[in-house]
């Protein structure tokens, strides 16, 4: 008799990642003569990551789950998620145990992979992130150039100044994160909480410290000192605030979340705090056409996305069918192309010319070993239900450390 547990319904070890959303899993016995009743639990002990279980996607998460495995060997579905507040720090530091009575039958290592505050990452998390960034860019010769080319002046109308701003950037970050995870599966995009000081982020060992000219300095061991983009070595970034002690000049998080309960009101956050965070600096990040040259840009936008996620949760705005969850401008004849719920998004749709940019760098969206959504050519609406709250299979495979699922 053997017991088999598949995380994200996959036999592949690379699929053993969960976040706060219920991940569809399945368990069975093989070669047994009778039905078995087993208990699933998180391995007791002090490691960072912990998991919770559900028999159905809508059940409340519990620390254990009892399951009867039929003798036929048929799969029994269940759901595993990270325990809120207990994200992994290292790959596989959460472990699912399967017990028969008190006898341990199986241990499956799982990673509770969560987007975290960049200012409080562990040294290892930080080093893995910058190494993955440096590898993806490969000094200007790597795939990062596609992400830079997706966010240029020419491409900008696809994603700015209209309601698709938040959905487009959500998918953009997801695409980048999947590429980083292809290099190092333990990495997630952390967020720069721009309304609080982030001295650990703006340090020589992380995203660097700017000198008075706005040239970013790194420690000798930091691979980002080899950063090259558009044929340019090093990064231009001149903070207009004290990065060691101050927050950027932006609306606070609570003010942002109070902009309104309708998307139409909330989307004004594109100006403040989003635009304000960009222009809290001189240098690349302060202009739309050059911002994506700076790795900080992606951490800034991860926070913008997190604020949207927080707002969605506070106001229950995940359902594309709900008018308040998006600004469809139906009275005004719809939004520009790429900004309507049913529009596909450039560049993943491969559509070029006309009101789309002349080329579509990078091709379709990177696939994920753990989730199927949003597909290779996502539409605007696919970005809304990122945690799969309306439909579990719609989940995009990321979550924030301070935005719970339930």
């Amino acid at each position: 008799m053997a017991i088999e547990l598949q995380i994200n319904n996959s036999a592949n070890a690379s699929a053993r990642f969960v976040n706060w959303a219920p991940a569809p899993c399945r368990i069975r016995q093989t070669g047994g003569a009778a039905a078995l009743t087993v208990k699933l639990q998180n391995r007791p002990g002090g490691l960072a990551g912990q998991v919770r279980f559900r028999a159905t996607g809508t059940a409340a998460p519990a620390s254990t789950l009892t399951v009867t495995l039929p003798a036929s060997g048929a799969w029994v579905p269940l759901f595993v998620s990270g325990r809120f507040g207990f994200a992994s720090k290292n790959t596989g530091d959460a472990t699912v145990q399967v017990l028969l009575g008190t006898a341990l039958q199986l241990e499956v290592p799982v990673t509770v992979r969560i987007r975290k505050n960049a200012n409080t990452l562990t040294t290892d998390e930080r080093n893995r992130l910058i190494a993955a960034f440096a590898a993806l860019n490969n000094q200007g010769a790597g795939r990062f150039v596609d992400f830079r080319n997706m966010h240029t002046n020419i491409a900008s109308p696809q994603a700015h100044g209209a309601p698709g701003f938040l959905p487009w950037h959500r998918i953009y970050l997801l695409d980048l994160e999947r590429e980083l995870q292809a290099i190092d599966p333990s990495v997630t995009l952390p967020y720069w909480r721009f309304d609080r000081p982030a001295p650990n982020l703006f340090s020589l060992d992380f995203l660097g410290v700017s000198d008075s000219l706005g040239r970013v300095q790194f420690s000798a061991a930091n691979p980002l000192r080899f950063w090259r983009i558009d044929g340019l070595q090093q990064i231009d970034r001149r903070p207009l605030f004290n990065t060691a002690t101050q927050a950027a000049n932006v609306l606070s998080e609570s003010q942002t979340l109070s902009l309104g309960t309708q998307y139409q009101a909330f989307e004004s956050m594109e100006g403040d705090p989003h635009g304000s965070a960009h222009v809290s600096f001189g240098g690349w990040i302060s202009s739309i056409g050059t911002a994506a040259r700076d790795p900080l840009f992606f951490l800034l936008h991860t926070n913008v996305d997190r604020l949207w996620a927080k707002w969605q949760r506070a106001n229950n705005r995940f359902d594309a069918a709900q008018a308040a969850a998006f600004d469809s401008n139906s009275a005004g004849g719809g939004n520009p192309i790429g900004h309507n719920l049913t529009d596909t998004m450039w560049p993943w749709n491969g559509v070029t010319g006309g009101q789309r940019p002349p080329t579509a760098p990078g091709g379709a969206l990177a696939a994920s070993p753990i989730v199927t959504a949003p597909g290779a050519q996502p539409r605007v609406r696919d970005a809304l239900d990122y945690a799969g709250r309306i439909a579990n299979p719609a989940q995009l495979g990321f979550a924030y450390d301070d935005v719970n699922y339930s």
Partner: protein
């Protein structure tokens, strides 16, 4: 509108540009008495290879070309001049040159429906990235107020076409959502353009407009490429080959690009289109009967791994007949022998045109397609004809879409 003497603002002119301005103004003044000499001298200035552009920055090249184009007003409209104007509308991206091209077209040419798709393309290019300018001052920079903008100039050219441009009506109407923010003069021009496009005329215009076909130029001395036979090239995998060995035995399409090109309508689009063409050829089962190659203008920077990454990101699949190349050593011999439209500031390209060459199985350049964007099915068809194969162009029209979905 008469073109005034240059009003050089804020003394930004470099010596080289000052010399060009003086010379061009002189040519324009002599156009009345020596029209042919003035015309050919002005057109010579529009060739990218002109020594005047060597070591000038891209922005200076834009200013210089703009001034030359504007100075062409007193000379006769010709096919040559038309190509330079349409090229800017088709694949330029600088708002100033777009405005200059639209303005020159409107003031010199006879209205033709075939201009519509190019003006529409230009409108798509500048609509989100418009700029203020003054066409009667060198460089076009304005410090106070706005004399005109690229959007306004393109709209004025569409108005001039009238019902012939009705194919662009949807694009023009899509500005409605921005009308509230339009400066008064833009709004007035926009309204006039819509009125002109929807005007009822006795001869109703045919609404359908397809892309302007690139015009083939037949190579004058078809032996030109032979001078390059021993020129060494390196492909995306690092393999070194002789120019004469690759460009012989099978007919080839040869084009040019560089990975640092800042105008995606040029290099990035060229490479995407070439990948579509390769797919179409393979789908028709003749991928190994013809060759395609793209050679970088920037061989010192574009090492093989960069070439491979750039082409792969644009859906290329490499094999012995389809490669991305750089010259081993200087690019200049190719530039000279093939009369390519490109120039440099130090080792970096400052401006280039689209250049596509068809080379026959004996290594002779037989046709070139400069400046205006080429279309995949037509180019497939020409290659098939050169190879003496029997395929129908409708085959390519379908398969060239490849993986690129349509909205």
């Amino acid at each position: 509108m008469a073109i005034a003497r240059p009003n050089v603002q804020l003394n930004i002119l470099s010596d080289a540009e000052a010399a060009l301005v003086a010379d061009v103004n002189d040519l324009r003044d002599r156009a009345a008495t020596h029209p042919e000499a003035a015309r050919s001298a002005l057109l010579a200035y529009l060739h990218e290879g002109h020594g005047m552009y060597r070591d000038r920055g891209s922005a200076a090249v834009v200013r210089m070309r703009g001034w030359v184009l504007l100075a062409c007003a007193p000379v006769a409209w010709s096919k040559d001049l038309e190509r330079f104007v349409l090229e800017e509308l088709d694949n330029g991206q600088d708002p100033y040159l777009t405005a200059v091209a639209a303005s020159v077209l409107r003031r010199m040419a006879v209205p033709r429906m075939s201009y519509t798709p190019l003006l529409q393309r230009a409108l798509d290019t500048v609509r989100w990235h418009d700029d203020a300018m003054q066409l009667d001052s060198y460089g076009g920079y304005v410090a106070q107020g706005t004399s005109t903008t690229a959007v306004r100039e393109v709209l004025a050219a569409l108005e001039w076409l009238g019902p012939l441009a009705v194919g662009a009506l949807t694009t023009v109407q899509s500005f409605t959502s921005q009308a509230a923010q339009m400066p008064t003069r833009t709004r007035v021009q926009w309204a006039r353009t819509i009125t002109a496009l929807t005007r009822q005329e006795s001869q109703p215009a045919v609404a359908s407009c397809c892309a302007m076909p690139a015009t083939a130029q037949h190579a004058d001395p078809p032996h030109r490429a032979h001078a390059l036979a021993d020129c060494l090239l390196q492909d995306q995998d690092g393999a070194v080959l002789r120019f004469g060995d690759f460009f012989s035995g099978k007919p080839s399409l040869l084009t040019f690009f560089y990975t640092r090109c800042g105008n995606p309508r040029k290099c990035s689009a060229t490479m995407e289109r070439l990948a579509q063409l390769q797919r179409a050829l393979r789908a028709a089962g003749i991928g190994d009967q013809v060759r395609t190659a793209a050679v970088t203008y920037d061989p010192a920077y574009d090492r093989p791994s960069l070439l491979a990454a750039y082409a792969t990101a644009r859906d290329w699949r490499f094999d012995a007949d389809h490669r991305v190349l750089r010259t081993v050593g200087e690019f200049e011999p190719l530039q000279q022998a093939l009369q390519l439209g490109v120039n440099f500031v130090s080792s970096v390209v400052n401006r280039h045109r689209l250049d596509v060459l068809l080379v026959d199985r004996h290594g002779a350049v037989v046709e070139s397609y400069p400046q205006v964007t080429w279309q995949v099915p037509e180019m497939c068809q020409r290659l098939v004809e050169l190879a003496g194969l029997d395929c129908h162009s409708s085959q390519f029209a379908a398969s060239s879409q490849g993986s690129h979905s349509v909205e």
